[in-house]
Symmetry: C2
Subunit: 442 residues, 2 copies
């Protein structure tokens, strides 16, 4: 994309309303604009990041055997009356009356709708297990929306729901999702720690939050170094199968044997038992939650399947959420510096920026156009009539993993400068060498 023709409105000033780094940087780099309190429009740069995160989340859900569906945003109140949650949910639920005076609502979550879809279609244990997921906008009418997309009212979430015949099956589905989550976060370039969470009225140990490490995180976390050392992509690959209960059991054991807690649940006695060289502390942001809740909804909504012995049983359910739009903010909290965003390679809106330091100089223009032709959709070409300083600042602000800097002297000598955003390292290379370094075959 040519920056001169792009809808990427960067801002020099720091917006007064933004209290945290990701909010400031998302506004300044032109990723989003607020349209109402806690509601954002995603501009081209932000939209690309959102889609990249969505794609990785989707690929890992698919790899785990979950099936993608898409439930609507507007739900009928009657399903929530059936589950007993309509009155309990309070003012965070956006309640709507349609032209025929029917009570509707903008879905904050989808347990009721998915259970209703399931009970209309599934009759027998032979059709189980099922994990269904969707990536859809949700609405929670927060009293005081803030922190940009980290705590917005309209937000994009991946939510999955598992249906199993019995508890043993539900445990397998739960572990499968835990693995999918750890793989997802690693691919997003994040360090994630699964933390045992409040399990609610059902009890048991099947409730985990996923906290990613970010210096500006909302809570203090304590964890074993093991979580940073495991290559989650090697689990679920090679000899390991997503569908093997034994492999998943082993993985779950690995995840739960190491110490991890937020300050609320921190246990200094247990912490003292962790080898001193392996103790890690940091700040964290919650970006996902997985949760087993058994027959809570299938009972309330009268949902059964035929079991092998001919009886009818209520399937066991779990739900599994990742905050997709929240992750855009969380990634920035985890990866930025004073100059701007530092995108992990896997989700950057553009792999590289091409900085033409002197538009109109024949050598600069030719080298930049040639680079742009090779990189195509992967490059943002800064062809604006701006000072070099403004171009450097904007490229750092937007956080492209690579910058290819083309000035008149270098261009005359057939050389460009390649800068790695994360390290600041700059090297002089030919355009083809630079493309090779970026991972684009010339």
């Amino acid at each position: 994309m040519r920056l001169s023709r792009s809808f990427i409105p960067t801002m020099k000033e720091t917006p007064a309303e933004a209290q945290i780094a990701s909010h400031r940087l998302m506004l300044r780099a032109g990723l989003v604009r607020q349209t109402s309190a806690g509601i954002y429009a995603w501009l081209p740069l932000g939209f690309r990041v959102l889609k990249n995160i969505e794609r990785i989340v989707r690929e890992e859900q698919d790899a785990s055997g979950a099936q993608e569906v898409l439930m609507p945003t507007i739900q009928p109140a009657e399903l929530w009356r059936e589950s007993g949650r309509y009155d309990d949910y309070g003012k965070e639920m956006l309640r709507i009356t349609d032209r025929h005076d029917r009570d509707m609502l903008y879905g904050p979550t989808n347990e009721e709708v998915i259970t209703d879809l399931f009970r209309q279609s599934v009759r027998s244990y032979r059709e189980l297990p099922q994990i269904l997921y969707h990536i859809q906008w949700k609405f929670r009418d927060e009293v005081r929306p803030r922190f940009g997309v980290m705590r917005g009212r309209e937000f994009l979430m991946k939510d999955a729901y598992s249906f199993d015949l019995d508890y043993a099956g539900a445990v397998v589905s739960y572990r499968k999702m835990m693995l999918a989550y750890m793989r997802t976060f690693q691919r997003l370039g994040l360090k994630a720690i699964p933390m045992e969470a409040e399990s609610g009225p059902i009890g048991g140990d099947l409730s985990h939050e996923f906290i990613i490490l970010a210096p500006t995180g909302e809570s203090q976390v304590y964890y074993d170094a093991a979580f940073e050392e495991i290559d989650y992509l090697s689990r679920g690959a090679g000899g390991f199968s997503h569908d093997s209960a034994a492999d998943l059991h082993r993985f779950f054991g690995e995840m739960t044997s190491h110490y991890a807690a937020t300050d609320e649940k921190h246990d200094p006695a247990k912490w003292a038992q962790v080898d001193q060289t392996r103790r890690r502390e940091g700040r964290g942001i919650e970006v996902g939650h997985i949760f087993y809740f058994g027959t809570r909804y299938t009972k309330a909504m009268n949902t059964t399947v035929a079991a092998p012995d001919g009886t009818h049983v209520h399937p066991e359910m779990g739900s599994y959420g990742i905050g997709v739009s929240r992750l855009v903010g969380a990634v920035i909290e985890a990866s930025h510096d004073d100059a701007g965003i530092i995108w992990p390679d896997g989700i950057a809106p553009f792999k590289a920026a091409i900085l033409n330091l002197r538009r109109g100089d024949a050598g600069c223009d030719a080298m930049c156009e040639a680079l742009y032709a090779k990189l195509g959709r992967d490059a943002l070409y800064d062809d604006r009539e701006e000072r070099a300083g403004a171009k450097f600042a904007d490229a750092d602000l937007m956080g492209h993993p690579w910058q290819i800097i083309v000035g008149p002297r270098g261009a005359a000598a057939g050389m460009a400068e390649l800068k790695r955003r994360a390290t600041g390292e700059r090297v002089e290379l030919t355009p083809n060498e630079a493309l090779g370094r970026i991972g684009c075959s010339a």
Copy 2:
């Protein structure tokens, strides 16, 4: 995907509430389920079609130079008060009051929001033209929703908005979108005719509806055979540039020089002048609309940019819509028979179904598994314990372009049967020959 483990609930009975073919077939083939009047959940099979259509629409928008953004579903009423449409819009607008008693609405269209985003950021003619689009769920609270996704209340739409400095520029943007639309419909496997439409208060000839031909269409259409003969993919390729005003002028001339009208605007006198051998009649369904409306919103919303002469002018706008979820129904109306759906290759949920006619037969199982391993995500493997007749019926109903039928006798001889859904043609082939015919290199 293995059908035995899929969430694809097919139905043998024709649902009573469905009046038209696409609605019946979408329910019967397990593409969607209604969750409230005029509101649907997309199950895995339907979701894949929706995403395939979305992808083609997106690729053609991108190719035309439009930039993708994503505006929220919930909009503030104040923007609609500014444009003067809030009171006019009537009961089709889903009006919402949030917890702080602010008037909000579920966007039925996005002229106000996009104009607001534009005026916050764009200051100068140098940043024009801009075409911004998004693919987002919209809501129109129809009095009597019906015809399934063809006239639902919550629906997915691609809407684009162009901003140009002057009328001449707006004309170029308009023509660019017309070309993108004709290319899109051709890639979707549809015959589309652009029809001059009511242009509203502004007048002029810059308003076109796009009608696709379907025997069950809602309106009678009359058109010149030329529209069926043009290869739109050759426009915008080769020597033709999306950005050349001259090329676009030529293309627009070609589109508007041939006769095309729905019965409402049909002119028998003009029709008589069309060469008799070139007259075509049929039924049609509206799936898109492009519309130039000048400074209607930029004036009402006080939006200006600096012109080259230093004055401030109101940019000229157009809007361009394609009904993405509606297209799923429209494609089925255009392409089905008594047995079920016939998906065009470009948007089919699966390229092929593999029909294992005798599960448990070692030869059948081995051949099917080998085919499934090769086709992967492109295949739906019918591994259910069902009669052959049920498998044939479901494969025809779901409408996969190809069926690979594996029975015990053929498998023993190393042969499968390949059926083309559109023609019913069946040939005996080795598995590798079948894969080659489908276009999957073995």
